[in-house]
């Protein structure tokens, strides 16, 4: 990426001179970026620079903003005129009518974009449209009507939440607001937005902000009421990518729920972030725009995996390690039951294949991988193949683990290496590789690490196991903090006594083979009698992902252990002296 100064040209539309900036090779596909209110084309600069080495990137100040001219009175700001402006810009920068342009709009620019792809002036000229934080005004009116028509509690909640964020639109219709902008309100508003975290720290208000803010009020006054009272049914067949930041202070994600009704060829990308993505996430935004442009330019009829996952009917992709048995297998099934695409990984390939087969019986898509979670290369290969085939992961469950019991002093270095490799390194690799993948993609995800109640219940009975699980718990807590800003949730699951195959493969150190078998059998009976099935842990895992829970103790003994470790560490330490394996 090299920041080259854009070339300025002037385009006249309905007697208004528009300041148009072009970047990048003029023979490359044209991408037109339309800014919102109260911005100028400067809001797009970081994104435009990132796109300029591959595309012909066009930005312009809309009428009444930045360097462009301003019409007289509010009648000069209707959407018809704004679309005519856009058409004039497109005709000027891409005179060959055979070549379509790619449109991107943010905020009011996005409202204009919707108008452009659903009306005549630009019919047949738009190859794709990426809409960020700005629904079509008519679509909004229909959205409100649909909810008033069926006033379920959920619908009313959506209306209420959106209404609380739209108060300013009403305020903008009051006569005094123009004066507020003119009389120094602009700077104050800008700094408030910076303080609220809406705009990046250190960003300066545009020199023309006071004028832009005041004139731009006409956008609201000329259009909102008219469209709200008499909405048209505006549809388009243009491929549309919706980018929906979850923390948008002005447009709630629910407001875009009915968009497929108007634009059937739709991808929706729900991402972490606030309203001004062009300023706060230019890297990701440029990549997302490029992804759609490249796909549409390629002429391929089928989506590449990375876009396929953004379709309304796309299943979330879930990777589960240790999916060949116990909690892992049940977790795979729980996600499959909910329609996810499951990637079942296990060191036992046959067992993983069996899990995948069962997932398919439940109606889900599923594949399996034979993989040793402790092997960095193998895990890297897994992550790569998942990215290639499925466009990435939405949820990864690092579940693979083995058991070990017996005194610390009898645990050999080999024993330690073995359990650390699976229980800790497996989780490290899974979290690291898939976490990095999710962060790079930018639209969030969830990492689940299966720890254990042993993570906070010390005992002389299973020092090695508890050590690895405590590490997994701490790793999860730290990672959660690290990834909180990028929309990736991290949960640690801490099951207690759960009836799974881990018991029969647990190594009891420091005893004879015969005693080993006896203890395994006795423990198995104990666990079976406890009767807590792995499918219940699987459901807890699904809930943890749904609700983004940080730490989830599962089973009563796990909750008790956690409470005890906080309320009375002393008692917890006393209980640790009891040897549970000695009594079986």
């Amino acid at each position: 990426m090299t920041a080259t100064a854009p070339t300025r040209r002037w385009v006249t539309s309905h007697d208004v001179d528009l300041a148009v900036d072009e970047r990048g090779p003029s023979d490359a596909p044209t991408v037109v970026l339309v800014h919102g209110y109260p911005d100028t084309s400067a809001v797009w600069a970081p994104v435009a620079e990132r796109l300029a080495d591959r595309y012909h990137v066009v930005t312009y100040d809309v009428r009444g903003a930045g360097a462009s001219g301003a019409p007289e009175g509010r009648g000069g700001y209707t959407l018809d005129l704004l679309v005519d402006d856009l058409a004039a810009v497109v005709d000027a920068v891409s005179p060959d009518r055979e070549r379509k342009v790619h449109l991107v709009g943010h905020d009011w620019g996005s409202i204009q974009g919707w108008e452009a792809v659903t009306t005549e002036p630009l019919a047949g000229r738009v190859a794709s449209y990426t809409s960020i934080s700005g629904p079509g005004l008519d679509h909004v009116a229909h959205w409100v009507r649909a909810r008033l028509h069926r006033p379920t509690p959920r619908h009313l909640g959506q209306l209420l939440r959106q209404g609380m964020r739209s108060w300013y639109i009403g305020a903008f219709h009051l006569p005094g607001t123009t004066l507020v902008w003119r009389a120094g309100g602009a700077r104050h508003i800008h700094h408030t937005l910076v303080r609220l975290g809406e705009l990046p720290k250190g960003s300066e208000p545009a020199a023309t902000l006071a004028r832009d803010g005041a004139l731009g009020l006409n956008l609201y006054r000329a259009n909102v009421l008219r469209r709200a009272t008499r909405p048209a049914e505006r549809r388009t067949d243009v491929p549309v990518q919706l980018i929906v930041p979850d923390g948008d202070r002005y447009v709630t994600p629910a407001l875009l729920d009915d968009t497929a009704r108007w634009a059937p060829n739709l991808w929706r990308r729900d991402v972490p972030g606030r309203h001004w993505l062009p300023r706060t996430a230019p890297d990701h935004l440029a990549a997302w725009i490029a992804e759609l442009v490249d796909h549409v330019e390629s002429g391929e009829a089928t989506d590449p995996p990375s876009l396929r996952r953004l379709r309304a009917d796309a299943a979330p992709v879930v990777v589960v390690t240790g999916a060949g048995s116990g909690i892992g297998r049940q977790t795979a099934l729980s996600f499959a039951e909910r329609g996810a695409t499951v990637i079942a990984a296990d060191i036992d390939g046959d067992a993983a294949a069996r899990t995948a087969l069962l997932c398919r019986d439940l109606g889900a898509a599923a594949v399996y991988h034979q993989v040793d979670v402790g092997d960095a290369d193998a895990m890297e290969a897994l992550a790569k193949s998942v990215e290639q085939d499925h466009g990435g992961t939405d949820v990864v469950v690092n579940n693979a683990g083995i058991g070990m019991a017996g005194p610390m002093l009898d645990t050999t270095a080999n024993d330690w290496e073995r359990i650390l490799r699976v229980n800790l390194w497996g989780v490290i690799h899974g979290s690291r590789l898939f976490g990095r993948q999710m962060a790079a993609r930018g639209d969030g995800g969830h990492i689940v690490n299966v720890a254990s109640a042993a993570a906070f219940t010390p005992s002389r009975g299973y020092p090695a196991y508890a050590t690895t699980k405590a590490a997994v718990l701490m790793l999860s807590e730290c990672l959660r903090a690290e990834l909180s800003g990028v929309g990736i949730g991290v949960s640690a699951i801490c099951p207690g006594i759960v009836n799974t195959g881990i018991v029969t493969t647990t190594r009891f150190v420091g005893v004879t083979d015969g005693e080993q078998a006896r203890r395994q059998q006795a423990t198995k009976r104990l666990y079976s009698l406890r009767g807590y099935g792995p499918e219940r842990v699987a459901e807890a895992i699904v809930r943890a992902v749904d609700r983004d829970k940080p730490v989830v103790p599962v089973t009563i003994e796990a909750r008790f252990g956690r409470a005890l470790s906080r309320l009375s560490p002393r008692l917890s330490r006393r209980l640790a002296r009891l040897d549970p394996t000695g009594r079986i």
Partner: protein, 290 residues
């Protein structure tokens, strides 16, 4: 063989292994009748019919064929009730107004007594296509083989139960027979005197009384006519007739079979191999891409 008896012999309670070939033939006939009832009823199932209606149909059908008493009245379970999902108390087993829908699994379970000879059968199917059920039915065949082999080896019944659990876990299924009263995978049946009796809570009183008496005696002698995974079943297979009902679940889909196993002093065999779930060939294996 010797049983771990404390007082007396098993003869005091049950004469199972004294059953003549004729007796076994009569048991076989009743079992065939019960399976015919399930198959006929299953063939006539349509979307919208309720569990209660189907249970009633089976009851009527069997009565028309001369059934004069019950081990228990027919049960029918539809949808996720086949896997006993969220079953907490025995009344939940009773037929409800749950309607059958296309693609739903179902289980029909009936236990008629005819002139003192008891059958207790379970029949699983689905209305239309249900891949999960197909696989369950195919995999249940392995359990049928496993059970008879292990009983033949005279492994303690508790261990056989655990072996079934291990196989189910390996296959990826949940053990759902643990939802039955006392977690039983099987219970004994015997020849009753010809006659009829009242039905209490869907169970035939004469059969219940026999079972209660046998349990009482068994407890004293260190064995149990109820086969589960507790200490009470930690004994070699008791000679007699056992109605064995492994019941597996994959989430909301449950499947079982139930049929009589003949256990003698030194052998064990299924009373009849000419049954719907045995005739049905195992589902073909399917390749999953990596």
């Amino acid at each position: 063989m010797t049983l771990p008896l404390i007082n007396g012999t098993v003869d005091d309670v049950t004469k199972c292994w004294d059953l003549t070939e004729t007796d076994l033939e009569r048991f076989r006939e009743v079992q065939q009748l019960a399976y015919r009832c399930a198959e006929t009823t299953a063939a006539d199932l349509e979307a919208g019919v309720t569990e209660r209606q189907v249970a009633k149909r089976m009851r009527r059908w069997l009565q028309d064929q001369g059934v004069d008493d019950w081990f228990h009245l027919p049960f029918a379970w539809f949808g996720d009730r086949t896997a006993f999902r969220r079953f907490r108390q025995p009344l939940q087993f009773f037929p409800t107004n749950r309607k059958l829908e296309d693609g739903m699994p179902f289980i029909l379970d009936c236990a008629p007594v005819h002139e003192g000879y008891t059958a207790d059968i379970g029949y699983a199917g689905a209305l239309g296509d249900n891949p999960a059920l197909d696989r369950l039915l195919g995999d249940l065949a392995e359990h049928r083989t496993l059970i008879v082999e292990q009983v033949r080896e005279r492994r303690p019944l508790r261990e056989v139960y655990e072996a079934v659990d291990t196989l189910a876990a390996h296959q990826g299924y949940e053990n759902r027979h643990r939802a039955y009263p006392f977690r039983v995978i099987a219970h004994q049946v015997d020849k009753l005197p010809p006659g009829t009796g009242p039905v209490v809570g869907r169970f035939g009183l004469r059969s219940l009384r026999w079972l209660a008496r046998t349990t009482a005696v068994g407890l004293r002698q260190g064995w149990s006519p109820l086969w589960n995974d507790t200490r009470l079943s930690d004994h070699p297979p008791t000679p007699g007739l056992w109605a064995v009902e492994p019941h597996l679940g994959l989430r909301g889909v449950g499947a079982k079979f139930e049929e009589l196993l003949v256990v003698t002093d030194d052998d064990a065999y299924w009373l009849d191999d000419d049954l719907p779930h045995v005739r049905r060939s195992a589902a073909p294996a399917e390749e999953v891409p990596t």
